[in-house]
């Protein structure tokens, strides 16, 4: 299985940096996600994850390090968490970590959004202050 590597952009579109590694099972999304065409960007990532669950079937560590994301990106984050939750329910191993800037003011808003992700998907998210 191929790895996915996408370099983040802070320009016309705000594209997050993506690193999905099939050898280590470590998947990372970081940066900013404010795209015009969110579904088009995230669809290959969903496909990769689903394939990994079936073909590789090893533990997944999913690391989020997102500073900004819009509401349509938040729907895609929900989709990712749902895929991981299903994998776990079917006997797979998946851990999700959410890294955030503990120094930032008004971090409560961001933590509230992560709490909403957990309530919506029932997938555990480990919060890691940096």
């Amino acid at each position: 299985m191929e790895n996915i590597q996408i370099a983040g952009k802070h320009g016309v579109n705000f594209i997050p940096t993506v690193n999905f590694n099939a050898d280590t099972g470590i998947c990372e999304i970081e940066g900013e996600s404010y795209l015009e065409d969110t579904i088009e960007f995230y669809s290959p990532l969903f496909k990769w994850l689903k394939e990994y669950c079936v073909e590789i079937n090893k533990p997944i560590t999913f690391n989020f390090r997102l500073r900004y994301f819009n509401t349509s990106s938040s729907k895609c984050i929900i989709d990712i968490l749902n895929i991981l939750k299903k994998y776990k329910d079917d006997g797979g191993t998946a851990e999700v970590y959410w890294y955030y800037d503990a120094e930032e003011e008004d971090i409560e808003d961001e933590l509230e959004e992560i709490e909403d992700f957990v309530i919506e998907t029932n997938m555990k998210i480990n919060l890691v202050p940096e």
Binding site: V12, N13, E36, Y68, N70, T71, D106, E112, D116, E120
Partner: protein, 180 residues
């Protein structure tokens, strides 16, 4: 005061308070330039800068998708047209957007704004989660941008709809964020 003096007063007041104003199509290029300007203009207040950035992206994407007035960009893709203004006052910043909506959208738009303003924070989060979980295409599903705007702002939404002609109305939203 004569008309010229009056116009000059309006002009200077607007110039004094306006940080950003734009009228035209909301394509990705425009969004990125304005977003960058917000970050740059408010770099000394990261809390406010982040809030206004988040609010701007959601409001601008709403205009881009839902404005009844469309314009082609240089690549021939249609984008919604609207107006946006960021102004600074003594204790707060105010973000105003305006765009045309079809007449049949007036009632749903007003109802949505009304519902959002009636809900407290916890209920608003519940409402957001409910809409986000609905399959896209179902009535009421999809657009949770305005809910996120309300969760990010420091005041209730200020909104109004002005009839323009038989087909369209002008939909205005004003969002306030405290400086401190």
């Amino acid at each position: 005061m004569n008309v010229a003096e009056n116009a000059y007063q309006v002009y200077t007041e607007l110039i004094d308070s306006t940080i950003i104003s734009y009228n035209g199509p909301f394509d990705a290029q425009v969004l990125s330039i304005i977003a960058e300007n917000i970050e740059y203009s408010l770099s000394d207040n990261p809390r406010v800068s982040k809030k206004l950035f988040k609010i701007f992206i959601e409001l601008a994407q709403n205009i881009s998708y839902y404005s009844a007035e469309k314009q082609e960009n240089s690549e021939g893709i249609l984008f919604g047209v609207g107006i946006i203004m960021l102004r600074e006052f003594e204790n707060h910043y105010s973000f105003s957007t305006g765009n045309l909506i079809e007449r049949k959208q007036v009632l749903p738009v007003l109802q949505k704004c009304e519902t959002i303003n009636l809900l407290d924070r916890e209920k608003l989060r519940q409402y957001k989660r409910k809409l986000r979980n609905m399959p896209s295409g179902e009535p009421g599903s999809g657009n949770i941008g305005l809910i996120q705007v309300a969760l990010t702002a420091d005041y209730p939404l200020e909104y109004s709809v002005i009839p323009v002609n038989d087909d369209n109305s002008f939909y205005i939203i004003n969002i306030r964020v405290n400086k401190n």
